[in-house]
Symmetry: C2
Subunit: 238 residues, 2 copies
């Protein structure tokens, strides 16, 4: 590769859904990208691509990383292995690659599977994005954390005992990836006397968002849904 | 107020420091604002204002909320009471007011003190921003959370026992507002055998940022500094 500079692997957070919640930096970098990669479901549209659709140049080469969303198992590493190879080819040739990431690249994202394979070989730049936590608190219109609150973020698939213990030890709690776990989590929070302190949000910042007290949540939840609980003293109410 | 529509109180996250990490929405709303409020220290520049300085219209009325940063006590409520009154006057007259918030408005911010006083009387819109957590992970170039990790965010002023217990129960930990607590936190993490898994970041995304392993952190830390600890299995390294 004498005389050739490597391209940069760019992990770009595109925010929680509303294209206007992209950062100026994400917008600038995507708008001049020559190669754009993103996760995509095996049927339907890529959520990350949809957020940035108005910015991706028509001339850009697109690399969808198609992973089955059916089971809640962790993404097929074979898909990321192949995508990493293809991306490495571009980086070796000196072309930057923009990887679009829902929310923030390093906040529960699949970007880490590319990062793991490429970060030691190529320059990397991470562009942080607005994460779903802050987006959900914004549409719920309730502060997430105040003063010296402890905030704990819990993935819903954890077992009840693990959830209970950590909810007890925090003032503010976010339960992510609620999806099919909704009935179980509702029962758990009800048993802890926390239902009245919990809000439910799905598809925050998108047109079709749903926001309500947990008690009024629908029977079934999509994967992109969250429960926010505030157990601390409400400093903004006193 | 017959025939007059209220203005909207807008809590606008301006991100962690780099003006390019403002969202497109924050940029748009600030660029047409007629009244702009922001927290400011009793000496020196307002950090939130500095981030948005290139966007605030010259014609905008500015409302600095000057709070002493010297002690770590909670902000003087008198300042927010007076600011809320002045802002309420604009909202009653039908003028929107943009409140600039470092990071995200509902993530450990002082915006809640205005929100508490005004949210029941006036329409509110919250524009989420990139928070310091995601900004720090980006400059550290290490994923914050993976898969089903538990993430806990801890304010450094908490006592050692409270910190230790919560660090033990999480895979990923962020310790915020490190400042003068740095020596104590270092000793605590050292005693827990976690120093090698901890990164130190100050002023993330600004030109003058400092990023290093905790072992190489400086002796003294500014208020806007953070320690990130990853205790989980490193899925991105396997």
């Amino acid at each position: 590769m004498t005389g050739t500079l490597s391209g940069t692997l760019m992990g770009i957070g595109v925010g929680p859904g509303d294209p206007e919640l992209m950062t100026l930096k994400a917008h600038r970098l995507i708008s001049v990208a020559r190669v754009v990669a993103y996760p995509a479901p095996d049927s339907g549209e890529s959520f990350a691509r949809r957020i940035a659709a108005g910015v991706i140049p028509a001339s850009a080469e697109e690399i969808p990383m198609v992973v089955s969303m059916k089971a809640e198992r962790f993404p097929a590493q074979q898909v990321y292995r192949e995508a990493a190879e293809r991306i490495a080819g571009h980086l070796e040739a000196g072309t930057d690659v923009a990887v679009l990431c829902e929310g923030d690249p390093f906040f529960y994202g699949s970007f880490m599977y590319l990062f793991a394979r490429l970060a030691e070989r190529f320059p990397v730049e991470i562009v942080p994005g607005v994460n779903s936590l802050n987006a959900c608190a914004a549409v719920l219109k309730r502060p997430l954390t105040a003063r010296n609150d402890v905030l704990t973020v819990l993935p819903a698939p954890l077992p009840d005992d693990a959830l209970r213990e950590r909810i007890e030890a925090a003032e503010a709690v976010a339960i992510m990836k609620v999806g099919r776990h909704l009935p179980r989590i509702r029962a758990l929070l009800d048993g802890m006397g926390l239902t009245e302190r919990a809000g439910y949000i799905e598809r925050a910042s998108l047109g079709e968002e749903h926001v309500s007290p947990l008690a009024e949540a629908p029977e079934t939840a999509p994967y992109f849904s969250m429960i926010l609980i505030y157990k601390g003293i409400d400093p903004w109410l006193t």
